[in-house]
Symmetry: C2
Subunit: 206 residues, 2 copies
């Protein structure tokens, strides 16, 4: 995957400056409003230099993030093997912690990139609709926060995102199931969790 053949320091330096400029500009203006001109200006490089390495801003972003994603994969893979099968909810899987740790190290970049919708806020709006629906449902099912396994706000966000993700998956796969079946499945997994049997023992440790 990662080729370490060519390491001309000029190239590395240029790419890094362009990447930093891009991320910074995304935060300032949003990805769509960012221009190649602005990137090279902030990076204090000539515009022609940009086109020497990238075809456009998409290409720049892709190359930059791919490195980060590779690093994330690596961090999660190695530690996953080490703690394989150790599913204790109190001391969670090491690779799982690594996920958050990695995000912490590239805090700024993850924050900027994940804040960008950019299909302007449509996802956010739909998530809001789902969140409200879930919040209402949770209040009916369990008004008492003490009987929830995790903080209410986190749970709402959790299931709203899960629902949206499955909806997108459902659309992209050309409706592999009926709407009613989908609703039933999501309902089921939300209330019962993914496994039919594991629950009892886990609860005794609380």
């Amino acid at each position: 995957m990662s080729k370490k053949e060519k390491v001309d320091p000029r190239v590395v330096r240029t790419k890094r400056m362009l990447t930093d400029a891009l991320i910074s500009l995304i935060e300032e203006q949003g990805f769509e409003k960012v221009t190649v001109q602005a990137i090279t200006k902030k990076a204090m490089l000539n515009r022609a230099t940009f086109y020497l390495h990238f075809t456009d801003k998409y290409d720049l972003l892709e190359q930059s993030t791919d490195d980060m994603i590779d690093e994330l994969k690596e961090a999660m893979k190695t530690s996953f093997v080490a703690s394989k099968g150790a599913y204790d909810t109190e001391s969670p899987n090491e690779s799982f912690i690594q996920l958050f740790a990695q995000i912490g190290t590239y805090d700024y970049i993850y924050r900027v990139l994940l804040s960008e919708s950019t299909m302007p806020h449509f996802r956010d709006k739909l998530t809001a609709v789902l969140s409200e629906f879930i919040a209402d449902g949770m209040t009916v099912m369990q008004p008492d926060d003490d009987l929830l396994t995790i903080p209410r706000e986190m749970a709402i966000r959790f299931y709203a995102s899960a629902f949206l993700g499955v909806i997108i998956w459902w659309l992209k796969n050309d409706y592999p199931y009926t709407a009613k079946y989908m609703a039933a499945q999501l309902m089921k997994v939300t209330i019962q969790g993914p496994y039919k049997q594991v629950v009892i023992e886990q609860k005794s440790s609380l």
Copy 2:
């Protein structure tokens, strides 16, 4: 919310033609590459007419989708009241079915808009990482598909999206919890579900 005061048929017609053109162009080229020129050309309208109603393509998209979102809210709200508290996993909440029904009626638009990332594929890549992680974990926890509450592929997508959603929430809220705590919470809710007690009775109905 929805003002039904002004209904000049020319305006309605123009807006609809522009909306249709936009959605169609998004599908063809992606939202970022769409220009106002292209929209008006496809809609067979003058470009000046566009600026008579919208400031830019974002504004057009926002106005168009807002109507759809409002309709979705309405469909889910009315039916939610009707079936309130009826949480049977076999015949799911009516408003939940409505959610999928609404998406079905605006199939094309939802499909196009939800397929657009547009933070070019970064979300998708991260979702892929999470999916792999979850798939591995599920295999360890429960290799037998018969003991899963829902189809495996759906479950993977479900929890990958949920995790990503919570991660975004976590970032946007400036790390309200530590990485380890986050990992532990997500682990817990994934295995046990959101409620500490409800599970047993539900299972007996299977």
